[in-house]
């Protein structure tokens, strides 16, 4: 450690200093060596830091000041829906009756928790237009895999073992093809057309009797609504395939359209995106999956059901794909999402999408003056710019992103989707005020001007952060993945 480095918690450690206060050891002590073979008694102690409580608090408070969250400032990270995380949700999730209940308690002692889960399931089914929803998957990618395993089980139950391929658009999230592989399928790519939508001709070319499913985000990762969704659904269904909806972009269409009405068979949602479960620095999320009636039998076990006024878990599901997670999903995140939905109601949720879409279109129209806009139609909740013009001046999209840090913003998603050169993907969300959007637009315009007049200031950015650009190459070539004392 040099004196300009922020210390690691281990570097505060001093032998015999303590930060704990354990309950009293109030039972007669026995000699454990009589019970336990010496080989199983640890000799080299786990070298955890020995620090006082104030040292810990200062350490993590210091770290928090070296981190940017939605509460710190604008966070227009495309495809991630970085909206405000209501504080009330945090309080509700911490209520003792929700946070300190054990998953194996008898069901009659946790009816309140089950009622909330059941109501959330039902509400999400209504929002998505699906028949049944499971809350078991822990995150979006986990939901994708769960959904694909159900599609696989469905085809196999029909004796249809030849359906080995899952079609994903070239603009899709990386999790789509990765989930297809984990579920035992081969991923096949379908191209986008010049308008940024799935190329129907290419879809007809790749679809066939080996098609298990098409995975689609709608609006897609360019923020564009797939207008030909019904034609696409027909193409896939006529070939005997199924339609999978990646709910990453649901924030654009709440109350305006429902995946179930578009012909989707299986849907996952990201409660940490659309429904304000906080992102937590990378999780925990929650990835419920909704299905049509014909898929209900394949849902993961157990299925939460209502019998008269009583909630029970149904384990007797012979066609189920099995368990996808111990217990019943990320309940704590589900409580937050439920609280949010109850706060907004149908009227509020529709306004969410209206405002999210208005904000995105407003920013897009103002920014297209300075930045290349590859797809010019109205967008939904997000849009993708290209840094092509700036690249010609020697300023890359990465530089623009780094320069935005100097203005106190988290940059947009960059270099994604892959089908746009030097992509900058902006998602403002509905919770940002017009003043914030205007200030960000001004910063983007200033950066564009700097690229023309003074490119070094962009190329060398950031100038104001606690560290400058990192040597990522060495990090990957000679990985140091843990602290070593010497």
């Amino acid at each position: 450690m040099s004196n300009q480095d922020f210390p690691l918690i281990f570097e505060h450690s001093q032998e015999s200093r303590t930060g704990f206060s354990l309950p009293e050891m109030d039972v007669p002590e026995v000699d454990l060596t009589e019970m336990l073979d010496d080989r199983y008694i640890r000799k080299n102690e786990a070298d955890l830091p020995e620090v006082s409580e104030l040292q810990i608090m200062r350490h993590y408070t210091g770290l928090s000041t070296r981190n940017h969250g939605v509460d710190s400032g604008f966070y227009p990270l495309g495809s991630c829906t970085m909206k405000y995380n209501p504080k009330m949700n945090e309080d509700v999730a911490r209520l003792t009756g929700f946070s300190h209940i054990h998953p194996h308690q008898p069901v009659e002692t946790v009816q309140g928790a089950l009622e909330l889960m059941y109501d959330l399931q039902t509400t999400l089914a209504e929002i998505t237009g699906m028949h049944t929803v499971t809350l078991q998957p822990a995150a979006g990618a986990h939901g994708e895999w769960t959904g694909l395993m159900m599609i696989r089980a469905y085809h196999e139950a029909n004796g249809d073992y030849g359906r080995t391929k899952v079609i994903v658009p070239d603009s899709a999230h990386g999790t789509n093809p990765a989930s297809a592989t984990v579920a035992g399928f081969d991923a096949v790519t379908v191209k986008s057309d010049e308008r940024g939508l799935v190329d129907l001709e290419d879809l007809k070319r790749v679809v066939g009797e080996d098609t298990a499913a098409l995975m689609l985000t709608n609006p897609n990762t360019l923020g564009l609504f797939e207008e030909h969704i019904l034609e696409m659904a027909a193409i896939i269904h006529e070939a005997g395939g199924k339609l999978y909806y990646d709910g990453a972009n649901l924030n654009a269409i709440l109350g305006y359209a429902r995946p179930g009405d578009m012909g989707f068979d299986v849907v996952h949602l990201n409660l940490h995106k659309t429904f304000t479960g906080p992102h937590g620095g990378g999780g925990p999320g929650s990835g419920p999956v909704g299905v049509t009636e014909e898929f209900a039998a394949y849902l993961p076990k157990p299925v939460l059901t209502k019998k008269e006024d009583h909630y029970v878990f149904d384990y007797d599901r012979p066609k189920s794909i099995g368990r996808v997670k111990p217990y019943y999903g990320n309940f704590g995140i589900n409580v937050r999402a439920y609280t949010y939905i109850r706060t907004m109601g149908a009227e509020g949720l529709k306004k969410v999408s209206e405002h999210a879409v208005l904000n995105a279109n407003y920013m897009m129209r103002r920014l297209e003056q300075e930045y290349e806009l590859p797809f010019t139609q109205h967008c939904k909740h997000e849009f993708v710019l290209s840094g092509k013009r700036q690249k010609k001046l020697g300023v890359r999209t990465l530089d623009i992103a780094k320069r935005l840090l100097d203005f106190g913003y988290h940059p947009p998603t960059i270099y994604f989707p892959l089908n746009v050169e030097e992509a900058l993907m902006v998602e403002p969300t509905e919770t940002e005020s017009k003043e914030t959007l205007d200030a960000f637009i001004d910063a983007m315009i200033q950066i564009s001007n700097e690229a023309k007049e003074n490119p070094e200031i962009v190329q060398e950015a950031p100038h104001t952060t606690v560290v400058s650009r990192m040597d990522e190459t060495t990090a990957a070539r000679k990985p140091i993945l843990r602290y070593n004392k010497d």
Binding site: V182, Y327, H378
Partner: protein
């Protein structure tokens, strides 16, 4: 209706519509085909104000029996432990919980460094070279380990002990169905994995062997002997699922030559919250480092030579490798990894050992108390913080009676083990007092008679 999360005024809206060049917001939704436009209003509960909704949900929460209203001896993978107050204060710092994946290291050093420290603590506890930034939970981490062993060894058979958590085994099976890994379960004998069965199943097609340490019954599996068996099939991986608290006192799996160690850090600073979110961890050897699922944080330097941290070895991950990724995992349990890091820092080197030791001591006391009340403890081998007791009664009925006395009873083992009907799995952690243990043992004794 007013919505406090939506700042757009009518005037803002009009200015924006003018800039966009449309008459109203409806025009922005015209690309949604008429046929799929949702016409009515969603049939969900109406919007609720903060005060009323808080009241309603507080009342709903209060209907649940919980680990504070009752004295719990329920464990079976989720434990009631001491959580230092400081944990919630740290994770309530909104710079942490309102951030996302630290893809921009210059403004994410806080999260990145916290994860780097978490990786170090898990490496220390497990005795492994590297640990990742977290997994969803112990069960899915174990399932990923199983699939990794099959992928890496190019063998299809994985042997799983029946003394592994039943829900984890169910998840292993679901995950194995993807790539078509064959799961062979071997029985337990006297509460520990049947080593003879392991020896006879272990062959050249074996990709890995899964053992839980301490196991589902609380018994400490003889990892040294498992290692000896595995040495006869060198390619087969030793996969160990471990309660990381136990490793404060027990020799870590890394010292027995484990290839992958996984588990759940819920024991460190994370409340039960009805089973999730918890915090899976995944630790392994340098050799397997480039095959690890999920995110890894590495140390490096910035342009001025200052120490800093970045997400690294990303060529394994879905956003780079797409269908060739080592896993599809994207979001993990970062905030809970932070909670566990704070709890582990609070405990420190001495505290984690003391807490683990106290768990064994109190469980040993429970064993005596049960035996003193005329009950028979089923397995006599060394244990960590759980015991199996034979009550010879319907456990569900017993549990109901215990509830009336203010106790949340143990786990009904007949749910997963036919041979263990009438048996209860009892967990005793450091938060249970002598008095509570005495009373509980006495109640069980009374109910048994």
């Amino acid at each position: 209706m007013e919505f406090r999360y939506l700042p757009m005024t009518e005037r803002d809206k009009q200015e924006m519509l003018d800039t966009i060049g449309v008459k109203d917001s409806e025009e922005l939704f015209k690309d949604i085909p008429e046929k799929v436009r949702f016409k009515g209003e969603l049939d969900i509960k109406p919007p609720a104000n903060e005060f009323e909704l808080t009241k309603e949900l507080t009342r709903l929460a209060e209907t649940n029996v919980n680990l504070k209203s009752h004295t719990s001896f329920l464990g079976a993978g989720v434990y009631d432990h001491y959580i230092p107050s400081i944990v919630d204060h740290v994770i309530s710092r909104s710079e942490f919980y309102t951030a996302y994946t630290p893809y921009q290291p210059e403004i994410s050093q806080g999260e990145l460094q916290a994860i780097f420290e978490f990786q170090t603590m898990i490496s220390e506890l497990t005795g492994m070279d590297v640990a990742n930034s977290s997994m969803y939970d112990g069960g899915t981490a174990l399932a990923e380990a199983v699939n990794l062993s099959a992928g890496s060894t190019k063998k299809k058979k994985v042997i799983v002990s029946r003394a592994v958590h039943p829900e984890s085994r169910a998840v292993i099976q679901s995950y194995a169905n993807g790539p078509g890994v064959e799961i062979v379960e071997i029985d337990h004998k006297e509460g520990i994995t049947d080593l003879e069965a392991l020896a006879s199943e272990l062959d050249e097609n074996t990709a890995g062997v899964v053992i839980q340490y301490p196991n589902f019954f609380g018994q400490i599996e003889p990892l040294a002997e498992v290692r000896e068996l595995l040495d006869t099939q060198k390619k087969a991986m030793m996969i160990v699922s471990s309660n990381p608290l136990a490793l404060g006192y027990l020799t870590p799996p890394g010292e027995f030559g484990a290839d992958i160690v996984v588990g759940d850090a819920q024991v460190f600073g994370i409340p039960a919250q009805f089973g999730g979110p918890h915090c899976g961890y995944f630790a392994t050897t340098k050799k397997l480092m480039r095959k690890v699922p999920g995110r890894l944080v590495g140390q490096t330097k910035d342009e001025q030579g200052r120490r800093g941290f970045v997400l690294t070895l990303q060529a394994r991950e879905q956003h780079i490798r797409r269908d060739k990724a080592t896993s599809n995992i994207c979001s993990n349990q970062a905030l809970n990894a932070l909670a566990s890091s704070v709890a582990m820092s609070s405990l420190g080197k001495q505290g984690v050992k003391k807490m683990a030791w106290t768990n064994i001591q109190k469980t040993a006391y429970m064993k005596k108390a049960l035996e003193g009340n005329g009950l028979s403890v089923t397995y006599q081998g060394p244990f960590f913080n759980e015991l199996v007791v034979n009550l010879g009664t319907d456990i569900q009925k017993t549990t109901k009676r215990l509830l009336e006395k203010g106790f949340i009873g143990g786990y009904d083992l007949s749910t997963d083990y036919e041979e263990l009907s009438g048996h209860m799995l009892i967990a005793v952690t450091e938060v249970r007092s002598k008095e509570e243990i005495d009373k509980f043992a006495q109640e069980l004794g009374d109910l048994h008679e």
